[in-house]
């Protein structure tokens, strides 16, 4: 079969990371859940951006708003959640020319303004920004084969160039057609092979219950990548897997990212995983972004007391020291009654009475590409 890849105008590898084009720009995002007891601010003033081909990690405790952020980008915030402020700018350039045959320039779409069930969102969802989830065991519909799942994504989002006979000259106007059933299956098998599933020709007809947890997550990745998205949102993709499988899955993701020049938004609470995957990290606490830095800066020079505490609470291998594992004092506050001032102040080792519980810290720059939200670093 011919090369089934569409002619993606790949952004030529930029010389330095920072020169790469912006793909997603989240500005002051706010997501609220209006529940019986009150309003939970699941995400409160989140700002970050992701460039093409870049991996951004988002870390934080359970319930800090990581997953909600991911869903907000795809406009899939579950009820009764609502995006109440900010914007999510998606720098889209359409992969396929429109009906008049022209390829459009980059178009900036504010995802927060779109109809969450609309045509445009559905094109982006899965086709341009794909997502994989925490629970591979139940992320595939039990009554459909791996192939059926792949097929759905492929037929929905992939188009193939029409080859004109005797017209191989540089034809600027390319035409595309939907994939046929056979081609979709072909692509499905190819994808399964790429994610390292043995005997993909047979496995494509396996039902989810015939696959192991690791294989299911591979299938999920295959589905996500079968549409050649510009960005992959990975919401704790390896949490439910054991360590050796986790390493394999991470390898596959890194591998495929390199070949496809795809951005990854990697959500996790596993600091070890994030250190090996991400270039830039956003630390969240109770819906607020507390620190953002390059991975090296964050691990070697953390600024926010919460980040420091998180890093200290990672168990270390090595000679027995007899020291107890450090943990963060206190409890995660009730999301309905967040503390005044800095939300972290009741648990903060660097708590400054009369200041931290009264003043809301600002987003402060403390170094190149290193931002923190803490009164310690404010004038």
């Amino acid at each position: 079969m011919e090369n089934l890849s569409p002619q993606v105008p790949v952004a030529t590898a930029a010389p330095s990371a920072d020169a790469r084009q912006t793909l997603i720009e989240v500005r002051d995002l706010k997501v609220e859940f209006d529940i019986r007891g009150g309003v939970v601010k699941a995400v409160d003033g989140l700002t970050f951006d992701i460039r093409r081909g870049q991996t951004v990690g988002i870390i934080g405790e359970s319930g800090c708003g990581k997953s909600v952020t991911a869903r907000a980008i795809l406009r899939m915030v579950p009820k009764p959640g609502k995006i109440t402020g900010g914007e999510i700018l998606y720098y889209r350039y359409s992969r396929y020319p429109d009906k008049s045959g022209k390829t459009k320039e980059i178009e900036v779409i504010d995802m927060t303004k779109l109809d969450p069930d609309g045509e445009l969102v559905r094109q982006i969802r899965g086709g341009e920004i794909a997502m994989i989830f925490q629970e591979p065991m139940s992320s595939l519909t039990p009554v459909y084969t791996a192939g059926t799942h792949l097929n759905e994504a492929i037929t929905l989002h992939r188009l193939l160039p029409i080859k004109k006979l005797g017209d191989q000259m540089a034809e600027k106007i390319m035409q595309y057609r939907p994939v046929t059933k056979e081609e979709a299956r072909e692509i499905a098998v190819q994808m399964l092979r790429r994610v390292g599933i043995p005997k993909p020709e047979q496995r494509v007809d396996s039902y989810p219950h015939q696959l192991s947890g690791g294989q299911r997550q591979r299938v999920m990745i295959a589905i996500a990548l079968s549409t050649e998205p510009y960005m992959l949102i990975a919401d704790e993709p390896t949490t439910a897997l054991d360590v050796s499988i986790e390493a394999q899955i991470l390898d596959i993701m890194r591998e495929l990212q390199k070949t496809a020049n795809m951005a990854i938004m990697f959500i996790t609470h596993n600091l070890g995983v994030i250190a090996s995957m991400a270039e830039e990290i956003v630390v969240m606490y109770m819906g607020k972004q507390v620190e953002r830095a390059k991975v090296v800066d964050l691990f070697y020079n953390p600024k926010h007391p919460y980040t420091k505490a998180l890093l200290q609470s990672v168990p270390k291998l090595g000679p027995k020291t007899g020291a107890r594992l450090a943990s963060i004092e206190g409890m995660v506050p009730d999301p309905l009654h967040l503390p005044t001032g800095c939300v972290f102040h009741p648990r903060c080792p660097a708590f400054m009475a009369g200041k931290c519980d009264k003043l809301i810290p600002n987003w402060t720059k403390v170094g190149e590409n290193h931002w923190v939200r803490c009164l310690l670093y404010e004038e």
Partner: protein, 328 residues
Amino acid sequence: MLNYLIRRIGYALIMVVLVSFVSFVIIELPPGDYLTQKIEQLRARGDRSAEQQVEMLRARYGLDKPFLERYINWAVNFVRGDFGESFEFERPVSEILGARLGYTVILALATTLITWFLAIPLGVLSAVRQYSLTDQVISVISFIGLGMPGFLLALIIMYFAIIVFNLEVTGLFSPEFQDAPWSFAKFLDLLNHLWLPALIAAVTGIGGLVRIMRGNLLDTLGQPFVESARARGLKNRTVIWKHAVRIAINPLITILGSEVFPSIVVGSALVSIVLNLPTIGPVFVDSLRKLDMYLAGTCIVFLTIMLLIGNLVADLLLAWVDPRIRLE
């Protein structure tokens, strides 16, 4: 699969034998038999000569033989297609039940179809629009349907149909078609008369199924595979019907075989009595009261067979719908 089918049919046969035996025992339990009742009646009327006549009948129907012999005789003849004779009507059982059996099956099927075609969309709508006005209205109506016995509804509808709309609602045929040979017009007439009783008999089942469908779908909609289907960019409608409903419907298929179908067969007996439908139900109830044992036994066996077939169909349907339980 074929093995499984053969085994299931084998079990079903054993079941039929057991059920028929047990029902025979139960019919036998009250003191006396049909003829004792008859003698009492005749005596009360002062008919002396009846005594000998009764002895003759007793011998003819085999009522003088021991119970086990009578059962075996009947069962063996049953397999041959001879279902015995009804005491009450003094005619062969097959003649009495013949046409009724067909109508019973048709009514049960129509009721089942109506139950499903109404209950599933209503349940889905109710779940997808959880807590909306639509959901509340559907819920209230389905609770009323669940709580209202079919025969009561039949009486109410009959009242309104006859008094207010001046309609003919009883029976399965218009008078002019009652004894007419089968034709397309007669078939249409049957359909015309069938939908109302079927709908009435379906109401209870619909009420329950709507609630179950709603609950299951709400459960399923919270599953990760629904979210990941949506994340693939599928239309909301595709996500709901192809991914969520497909899973949520499984328990309903089991319920179809084990609860809905039996309750339709049983529940429609009362509706049939009220609406004067020529199904097995009314005859069966009557035969039990009169200890007309061959007739009652045959009714029970046929109802059992219907249930077993319903169950088997539900199980096969489930295996077809859900690969996880498909047998190798």
